[in-house]
Amino acid sequence: MKKYIFSRFGYMLFTFLLIATFTFFLMHTLPGSPFNDERLSAAQKAMMAKRYGLDEPLAVQYFKYLGNLLAGDLGVSFQFDGRSVTSIIGERIGVSAVLGAQSLIAGTVLGLLLGIVAALKHNTFLDYGSMIIAVLGLSIPNFVFAGLLQYWVGVRLQWLPVAFWEGFEYSILPTIALAAFVVATIARFMRNEMLDVLGHDYIVTARAKGIRESLLIIRHALRNAMIPIVTILGPLAVSLMTGTLVVEQIFSIPGLGEQFVKSILTNDYPVIMGVTLFYSFFFILIVFVVDILYVLIDPRIRLTGGGSRANG
């Protein structure tokens, strides 16, 4: 077990280093430059380059960059003069985190309910209804859904604010837009797991012992069905991450996603790099936690030597 965690940790570090390296070199081959201003003379451009350390050899820049990274220093934004990328991320992440957490919680609760109902009422109207919702939630692109919500609920019906971030009611539409994918994924997953668990012998045994149906569902079926849900945390995290990029833009929410898109449009490399690394780190950490959790929770998973991926 220790060996397994250790090797996963090694992978995590290596993957992160790889992404950091990849990001660094990609950013240095980019065609655009923030100093592409015709009013600047060559001397001024050189001064700017020197100030941001762009005149040094690439290798020096690379190792400096890695060193700074270890210290949590992601560089200084080109766009916002003198502001560090870390402080920009720090300022913006709060809103995105609230939005993401709200969507994750709301989506998980609703998804679990839908999935459980669908499994218990297998092959009934409720089952089909839940699965139709799930297919729609998985299929309809989040920006399309967000746009439709904004148009119908915000503009036409005027029930909820169309944009900005000034209170709870402002977060409702973006949360729904983001949660749709979570609901759909969890509902489908939960339904299949529940159906699988309900077919097992120990459920029959429990039922034969005369246990109340509600207790049977909660204590025996639900508990076991929920274990594999940790495995879909990865895709969910990714969907929330990419979701915030577009949803924040659509609803003009001052979160990290909106900043990232803005930085792409203004060629603000340090911010793009910083946010990319931040997102990657977040994702890699989740993959690591899921790998470990899964082994800890489910004793049926056998570990094979050499740290290869466990198969359930």
Partner: protein
Amino acid sequence: MRMDEAELHDGLFELSGEEGRKKQVRASVPTTSYWKDSWGRLRKNKGAFAGLIMIGLILFLAVAGPYMNSHGFDDQNLEHANLPPKVPGLEKISWLGMSGADIRGVDQYEAKGVEGYYWFGTDSLGRDIWTRIWEGTRISLYIAFLAAALDLVIGVAYGSISAYYGGRVDNVMQRIIEVLIGIPSLIIVILLILVLQPGIVSITLAMVITGWVNMARIVRGQVLKLKNQEFVLASRTLGAGDGRLMGGHLIPNTLGPIIITTMFTIPSAIFTEAFLSFIGLGLQPPIASLGTLVNDGFKMMKIYPHLLMFSSIIISLIMVSFNLLGDGLRDSLDPKMRK
């Protein structure tokens, strides 16, 4: 397993002796191939079948749609800008929004003195949305199919080689995959597009760079299961080489999972392309894809909702259809589900 009375039917039992053998011969049905069997199951799946028909229809319109009226996808006519949709026949039904009236109820066709019809309306440059949507669908599908095909080729080759040779080869190849799988692919795609500049080829390539990993893992899993089975041993005994074993026996037997995976790659590629357009990294005008059309629609959403509606509906329909078909194929092709 609990069994009801009804489940214990006669078919579960066999008569022994001569009597039984005769009966068995009579009861036998013509054997069906795996593919015929799967097709039968797929046809019974209403959702998947509806998805299949919808995909057929959308493919047809993506090819023929732009030629169904006289407007070119890039024909600008500023006098005809921002016209709401108007369809012959449907224009009489007021609630459908196909009457040529804008959101305030003014018939723009009359107000601007426009003869003729724009089925899905026009955009701010007076271009016909119907034509542009189907041109865009064609581009989106083209990117998606190309990406899926490349994923397939790379993934199948990588996965089958890794599994077939096993040992150290497999070990090294799997370590690479394990690193790649930990990388958030969308981030890499965004970074690559920043460098390569948006275009059909660069968007496709960026998606393929991380996209093939999934296919490789699935093919590897299947080949690992198959490679020690007797038919492979038999073929090897008869002198088949590695290439023949892989191409002639192992890969054909993993076609089911390969098709299923491809079916899910296509909608995700369509989504990725549209997503890139949305964050400003999409195709550049005059080329349009569904993603750029949805994005354009957003800018004028409040005044001219038709710009957003049709492209949104079409892209959602494509995604739903492919997902339904993919689900159906998974149920019908997966041998584990065979009853």
